[in-house]
C-alpha cells in the first residue's frame, strides 16, 4: 500500500524491507523524547532515530499512564464506573462521562431528561473550550512562544471557575452520570459565563495577533506535518486534524447527539493540512464553541427534570447487549464501546480515544524526515492526550 513515508534519501532499506540503521556507525543516534521531557504531550515518549538534525524513524511508546481502566471497570458496578471514567482523559474528562452515561442509558433503556441533555451539551462545549485553550498554549509553547500559554491558561482557569461553580470540581467534574446530570446551573451563572466568554474572545484576538499573524510562527508551521487527505481514512484520522485537511468530519454534524440538532453551526474546515492549518482550525472551532455556549444558554429550557429515576444503583443490572456511543471531542471522535452481560458489571468497556490513532500510527508516519526541533510542534499539533491511548 502507498501509505509509507518517503524514504528515498536515507536510511537505506535492507532486502527484507527493514531500515538499515546501524547505530554503531555513528551516523545515527537514538534520541528519546520523553517521558521526562518538557516537549512531550503528557507522559509518553517518542523514540527517535536521528541522522544529523533529521528524524529518520520515530516510535511512539505509551503505557506510562496505564491503569487498566477497562479491567477495573469490569469489577465495578455501573454507578461505580461513573467516577472512574473521567480519569481516562485529564484535560477534557467530560466526554468520558457523557459517552459512558449515554452507553449505559441506552443499554439500560432509560432516557435522560431534556434539560439534562442541554446541560450536558453545555458542559461538553465548555470542556472543548478548555481543551483548545490548552492546546493553543501548548502549540505556541512547543515552538518557544511562552506568552501565549500564559494568556490561554489564564482564561482556561476562568473557565475552570465556571466549571467549579457548576459541577463542584475543577478538573474531574463527575457531573454527568447515567440518568442525567447532578445539579442545576447556579444562580447568576449565565452572567458570569458571558463575562468569561468575553474574556476568552479578547484573549483569542490577542492570540490571533501574536501567534497566527506571526512571521516566525508561520515560518515554522506552514508546510510542517502535512497530512495528505488520502491518509485520513486509512489512518482513522478524525476531528480538527481531519478538518484541517479539508474533510468536514464532525460527529456533531454527521451523527448529531444530545441537542446539537437544535444548535446552529457549521463544521470548521481548513485546507492546508499542516500544523498552521490545524492550529487555525482549532482556533476557529474554539470561537464556534464560544458561540455554541451562548446559543445553549439562550435556548435552554428554563426548568425541567435533571435526573431520570434510576433503579437502586447498588444492585443495578443491565441486560445483555452491546453498543457504541460517540461524540466529537476537541481531538476527534471519542467513543465508548460497552458490552453488558446481564450482570451488575460491564462485561467490557473499550474506550476509543482519537489520540489512539493519531499519536501512534499517524505520528510514526508523519515524524519521518522532519527536524528534531519540529517533533514537539508536530506532536502537539496532533493534539494527543496519552492517557486515552493506554487508559
Amino acid at each position: 500500500m502507498g501509505y509509507q513515508p518517503d524514504r528515498s534519501q536515507y536510511p537505506q532499506q535492507r532486502e527484507d524491507g527493514s531500515l538499515d540503521i546501524d547505530l554503531t556507525s555513528g551516523k545515527y543516534l537514538k534520541l528519546w523524547q520523553g517521558p521526562q521531557h518538557p516537549g512531550i504531550t503528557g507522559n509518553m515518549s517518542v523514540e527517535l532515530t536521528v541522522c544529523g538534525d533529521e528524524v529518520v524513524e520515530g516510535k511512539t511508546h505509551v503505557g506510562y499512564l496505564h491503569r487498566g481502566f477497562e479491567k477495573l471497570m469490569e469489577r465495578r458496578s455501573f454507578i461505580q464506573c461513573f467516577p472512574i471514567v473521567c480519569r481516562i482523559c485529564v484535560p477534557e474528562p467530560d466526554f468520558n462521562e457523557y459517552c459512558y452515561a449515554a452507553a449505559v442509558e441506552e443499554l439500560a433503556g432509560i432516557q435522560s431528561p431534556e434539560r439534562a441533555d442541554w446541560i450536558r451539551t453545555l458542559i461538553l462545549e465548555m470542556g472543548r473550550i478548555n481543551s483548545y485553550l490548552m492546546y493553543l498554549g501548548g502549540q505556541a509553547g512547543s515552538l518557544g512562544q511562552g506568552v501565549i500559554g500564559q494568556w490561554t491558561t489564564y482564561v482556561r482557569d476562568l473557565m475552570l471557575d465556571r466549571f467549579e461553580e457548576l459541577t463542584g470540581a475543577r478538573i474531574y467534574h463527575m457531573f454527568i452520570l447515567p440518568g442525567g446530570v447532578r445539579g442545576d446551573l447556579p444562580d447568576g451563572f449565565n452572567k458570569r459565563m458571558e463575562e468569561t466568554l468575553c474574556e476568552i474572545e479578547n484573549v483569542l484576538k490577542d492570540v490571533y495577533e501574536t501567534m497566527f499573524c506571526n512571521a516566525v510562527f508561520k515560518k515554522r508551521t506552514v508546510g510542517l506535518g502535512y497530512i495528505d487527505p488520502e491518509l485520513i481514512e486509512p489512518y482513522g484520522v478524525t476531528g480538527p486534524t481531519a478538518r484541517a485537511a479539508g474533510v468536514a468530519k464532525d460527529v456533531r454534524k454527521d451523527q448529531p447527539y444530545l441537542v446539537y440538532p437544535e444548535l446552529e453551526f457549521e463544521p470548521v474546515v481548513g485546507t492546508d493540512s499542516d500544523v498552521y492549518a490545524r492550529a487555525d482550525v482549532r482556533r476557529r472551532d474554539l470561537l464556534m464553541s464560544v458561540d455554541l455556549v451562548r446559543q445553549i444558554l439562550s435556548k435552554m429550557p428554563n426548568d425541567g427534570k435533571l435526573m431520570t429515576k434510576l433503579p437502586n444503583v447498588l444492585h443495578w443490572k443491565i441486560p445483555r447487549g452491546e453498543t457504541y456511543i460517540r461524540g466529537e471531542c476537541s481531538r476527534g471522535e471519542y467513543g465508548y464501546y460497552l458490552v453488558t452481560d446481564g450482570s451488575g458489571f460491564p462485561r467490557r468497556v473499550n474506550v476509543r480515544g482519537p489520540s489512539y490513532t493519531h499519536a501512534v500510527a499517524l505520528l510514526e508516519r508523519l515524524i519521518v524526515n522532519i527536524n528534531i526541533s519540529d517533533v514537539a510542534g508536530l506532536m502537539v499539533s496532533l493534539h494527543t492526550y496519552p492517557p486515552e491511548i493506554e487508559r
Partner: protein
C-alpha cells in the same frame, strides 16, 4: 605602557558592581517578561537565592575533566570580556584593563566562553547537550559574522582598535553616536545581538521543548552556579561592548545602568513576541538580513 597594579582592585570593584547589577537586571527582565504574560514573576532578589541554593547543593558529580572546566571557561570568558573593555568612559577607576587593541581581544573573549562551554557540555555525554552545542556553535558563527563585520566597519570608521578611543570619538552629543554615524553597521550588529542573547527567535540552542535546555542539561550544583554567575556577567559585558561601540558609551554608572538595560530590552522586546527559529532557519536569516547590512556598512565606510 606601564601596568598599574591599582587597576586590579578597581576592576574587581567593577566586577562586583556588574555582578550585582546583572543579578538584579536579569530578574527585572524576567519580571517584565512575566508582566507581558499577565503575572508578577519572580521576586527581584530571587537570583541571589538561586545562586546560594545552587552553591549549597551537597552532592555533585563530574563527567570528566572538561566537564569541570566548561563552566570555568565560560565564566572566564564573561569576566575577561568585561575586564578588557572600559566600563565607564573617562573614569580611571572603571576603565578596567583596556588597552590599545582591546577590541580584538574582546571579540576573542566573546567566542572563548562559548567554546569552553562546548567542550564541557560535549564531555557531559548527554545527547541533548551535544545537539545543543552543535546548534549553538553553528548559530553563533552565523550570528557573530555580522557583528564582526560591523566591528570591522566601526574600526575602519574611527580608524582605531581601542574601545576607549571609539567611545571618545562618539562624545559630544547623541548624533555623534555610531548609531547615527554608521546606522548600517549598528543595525547589522543589533541583528547579531538578537542572535547572541539566547532569546527567541534565536534560542533554539537552549530550547527546553526540544532538547531540555541544551548544553547545560547535565550541569548542576556549583557548576550551574558558576554558569549562572556567568549568565549575569556575560550579557552585561557584551552589552558594554555594544554600548561603547555604537551607543556612545557611558560616562557614569546611572547612564551605564540605563543604557545596558535599554539595549538588553531590545532583545527582550523581540523575544517575548516571537517563537523560535529552527537552527538552519536562523542561520539563513542572519545570512540574508544581517550579513548584507554588515557588508554594506563596510562598503559605505
Amino acid at each position: 605602557m606601564e601596568f598599574e597594579w591599582i587597576k586590579i582592585p578597581y576592576s574587581l570593584l567593577t566586577l562586583f558592581i556588574v555582578i550585582n547589577f546583572g543579578l538584579l537586571l536579569t530578574a527585572l527582565i524576567q519580571k517584565i517578561g512575566a508582566r507581558v504574560g499577565r503575572r508578577h514573576g519572580i521576586p527581584i532578589y530571587q537570583n541571589y537565592i538561586d545562586l546560594i541554593k545552587n552553591y549549597a547543593i551537597r552532592s555533585s558529580i563530574t563527567h570528566g575533566f572538561m566537564f569541570y572546566l566548561g563552566p570555568v571557561f565560560r565564566l572566564s570568558g564573561g569576566v575577561g570580556l568585561l575586564l578588557f573593555v572600559p566600563t565607564i568612559y573617562g573614569s580611571e577607576m572603571f576603565s578596567n584593563l583596556s588597552f590599545a587593541g582591546d577590541l580584538i581581544l574582546a571579540l576573542y573573549f566573546v567566542f572563548f566562553g562559548a567554546l569552553g562551554m562546548a567542550l564541557g557540555a560535549g564531555e557531559s555525554g548527554h545527547p541533548h547537550a551535544a545537539i545543543g552545542v552543535s546548534r549553538g556553535l553553528s548559530q553563533m558563527t552565523a550570528a557573530e559574522l555580522p557583528f564582526a563585520l560591523a566591528v570591522f566597519s566601526v574600526a575602519l570608521q574611527y580608524q582605531t582598535l581601542s574601545v576607549t578611543d571609539i567611545v571618545a570619538a562618539q562624545q559630544g552629543g547623541v548624533l555623534n553616536w555610531t548609531l547615527f554615524t554608521n546606522p548600517f553597521a549598528v543595525t547589522a550588529a543589533m541583528f547579531s545581538f538578537l542572535g547572541s542573547m539566547m532569546r527567541p527567535p534565536f534560542d533554539v540552542v537552549l530550547a527546553p521543548q526540544e532538547i531540555p535546555i541544551g548544553p547545560p542539561t547535565e550541569y548542576h550544583s556549583s557548576y550551574l552556579a558558576l554558569m549562572q554567575t556567568n549568565r549575569v556577567i556575560f550579557p552585561v559585558a557584551k552589552i558594554v561592548i555594544y554600548m561603547n561601540l555604537f551607543f556612545g558609551g557611558a560616562a557614569s554608572w546611572p547612564v551605564f545602568f540605563l543604557k545596558v538595560f535599554l539595549i538588553y530590552m531590545v532583545s527582550v522586546f523581540v523575544g517575548v513576541a516571537f517563537p523560535r527559529f529552527r537552527v538552519e532557519q536562523s542561520i539563513r536569516w542572519f545570512l540574508i538580513w544581517a550579513m548584507p547590512l554588515g557588508i554594506l556598512a563596510i562598503v559605505l565606510v
